[in-house]
Amino acid sequence: MAAAAKQAQQLARQLFKLSVVDNVVSTDRVAGVLAYVEKHAPANAVLVLKAYHRLIAVELAKSEARVEHAGAVAPAALAAIAAAMTKKYRRPITATARAHPALLAGLRVRVGDDVYESSVSGQLAALSLSV
């Protein structure tokens, strides 16, 4: 079982490498990979696809700045965030906004695993931990 999972992981990694062009996930390439898997049905196809899905999801998250906000966010601010993150991570990053009233005020920007906390609730949480 462990060997099968390892093999599936290796194949998924190879398929993932084929799906990325210039640090960006290519929709066409992903479609091609899916068609290949459907046609050739490699061993442990489900495991391969699950591992592949995880890798693609992680990669897509790196190209998206998810902006959580408590109040209104101007489109110009979103554009500025996207530009700043693109510069910082040296890859094209798009910004998407999502209302999150629990933040009380301010913003929280998530790019991949990185979170930039600039909200009141985040500062209160940090304060409570430091007391």
Partner: protein, 508 residues
């Protein structure tokens, strides 16, 4: 003036609203105190990670798709999907004299109900051991108060001496006796006002023990007045394996503070067998490859990096380690015992047979050794006890041969008689360590044959009587021995006279 203040205020305002970057992940699975986490792409090995609800973890397995973390603290409220963040810090524990007299958990939090600990400093739990150049050779004695050990298997400050034996052979008792003895020496030394006196502070790390045992140990130390010089780090059997794994490193960090600040400290790891078992459990859950006895491949490094932290530093203090290992049916050739034997600078081997025969402490003289040797002994002990180990070894050999026949020459008989008396003389009740000057006096009396006319079965009572005689009536002589630390002709004459006086008044 106000412009300058405005500028500073603006700077503060700018800093306080600056976004804080965190690296995050999500719990994928959690079981047995170990969490597998998706994300945490920037996490470092051994980095502290924060879980919701204040629990903290340590990143131990960095894999391509996930991070394996051990969780220290309450895991009952954690669930799949919870967000975990990196802290950028190594796990640290409070250190300093504020911890003396307290019982703390593996993270240095007080668990004795005496309120919070006012520690000013923290030390990282994992630290690289001092290098070669920073060290100094071990040549200052650390008295255990146990006559058999101080005279034949001397321990020096900065040494690592293993206490090994089956369950119920008195391993913990030897460690507690040593801690009590340090407290007694500290009290006498500090009261004397000697500027050169260096007290020894103790740290007792209980790993995987029953809570009731720890309570008993605390009570014994408190009753002996030793708790005020001792820190107890408790990771009980009820604690999760991660806490048991980290506890000895936390204790070592607390001990290092004393060492780094020019003081001497003693640390007891009770015991490293349970520590290895806790680490094996964590490693198996983390799916690390297992080797002999299902222990992971780095189980040697687990203990070597811990014990290497005990040292005597040049120009600073020392940290002496007394690790304890529990054997099964006296098998010292098992994996963990052989590992720790090879790491330490000697071992005190306790035998079940001796214990059952009533020879307590049940120290096996043949199998016990101190690689530091007599360099960690005072001259007085060498003078009166230098040949003891050889005499006892000879006695054991002769006693084995004597079982086959009854016709023995006078010399052999005398050796057997002397050996039997030495064995009796070394019997010592638990939690009553003897001061080194008293040990020297008793051994002097034995060497001069004062116990020879006494029946072997009555030697224990006679020795107790002699101890009482010296402590109550020859205090000045004991103080002189303690201060001189060597027996000159004048002292020998005084000791001889005192022993004669005792003999004239003693009736068996």
């Amino acid at each position: 003036m106000s412009t300058v203040l405005d500028q500073i205020e603006q700077q503060i305002a700018k800093l306080s609203t600056k976004a804080v970057k965190k690296n995050t992940g999500n719990i994928r699975t959690i079981a047995d105190g170990v969490a597998k986490i998706d994300g945490l792409s920037d996490v470092m090995y051994n980095e502290m990670v924060a879980f919701p609800g204040g629990a903290i973890g340590i990143a131990l397995n960095l894999e391509e798709t996930e991070v394996g973390c051990v969780i220290l603290g309450d895991v009952s409220k954690l669930k799949e999907g919870d967000e975990v963040t990196t802290t950028g810090k190594l796990l640290s524990v409070p250190v300093g004299k504020a911890l003396l007299g307290r019982v703390v958990d593996a993270l240095g939090n007080a668990v004795d109900g005496k309120g919070p600990i006012d520690a000013k400093e923290t030390y990282p739990v994992e630290r690289i051991a001092p290098g070669i150049m920073a060290r100094k050779s071990v040549n200052q004695p650390l008295f255990t108060g146990i006559m058999a050990i101080d005279s034949m298997i001397p321990i020096g400050r900065g040494q690592r001496e293993l206490i090994i034996g089956d369950r119920g052979t008195g391993k913990t008792t030897i460690a507690i006796d040593t801690i009590i003895n340090q407290a007694k020496i500290n009290k006498v030394g500090l009261a004397s006002g000697d500027a050169k006196f260096r007290p020894v502070y103790s740290i007792y790390v209980a790993i995987g023990q029953k809570s009731s045992n720890i309570v008993r140990t605390v009570a014994a130390l408190e009753a002996a007045g030793a708790l005020e010089y001792t820190i107890i780090v408790a990771a009980t059997a009820a604690d999760n394996p991660a806490n048991q794994y980290i506890a000895p490193y936390s204790g070592a960090a607390m001990g290092e503070w004393f060492m780094e600040n020019g003081m001497d400290a003693l640390i007891v790891y009770d015991d490293l067998s349970k520590h290895a078992v806790a680490y094996r459990q964590i490693s198996l859950i983390l799916k690390r490859p297992s080797g002999r006895e299902a222990y992971p491949g780095d189980v040697f490094y687990l203990h070597s990096r811990l014990l290497e932290r005990a040292a005597r530093l040049d120009g600073k203090g020392s940290l002496t380690a007394l690790p304890i290992i529990e054997t099964l049916a006296g098998d010292v050739s098992a994996y963990i015992p052989t590992n720790v034997i090879s790491i330490t600078d000697g071992q005190i081997f306790l035998e079940t047979d001796l214990f059952n025969q009533g020879i307590r402490p049940a120290v096996s003289v043949g199998l016990s050794v101190s690689r530091v040797g007599s360099s960690a002994q005072i001259k007085a002990t060498k003078q009166v006890g230098g040949k003891l180990k050889g005499e006892l070894a000879q006695f054991r050999e002769l006693a084995a041969f004597a079982q086959f026949g009854s016709d023995l020459d006078a010399k052999t008989k005398a050796q057997l008689e002397r050996g039997a008396r030495i064995v009796e003389l070394f019997k010592q009740p638990a939690f009553s360590p003897a001061a080194i000057e008293l040990q020297v006096s008793i051994l002097f009396a034995m060497q001069k044959g004062f116990f020879d006319p006494i029946d072997a079965k009555k030697v224990v009572a006679a020795a107790a009587n002699m101890k009482n005689f010296f402590t109550t009536r020859k205090d000045a002589l004991l103080t002189e021995i303690r201060n001189k630390a060597a027996l000159d002709k004048d002292l020998e004459a005084k000791l001889q006279a005192a022993c004669d006086e005792w003999k004239s008044g003693y009736t068996a």
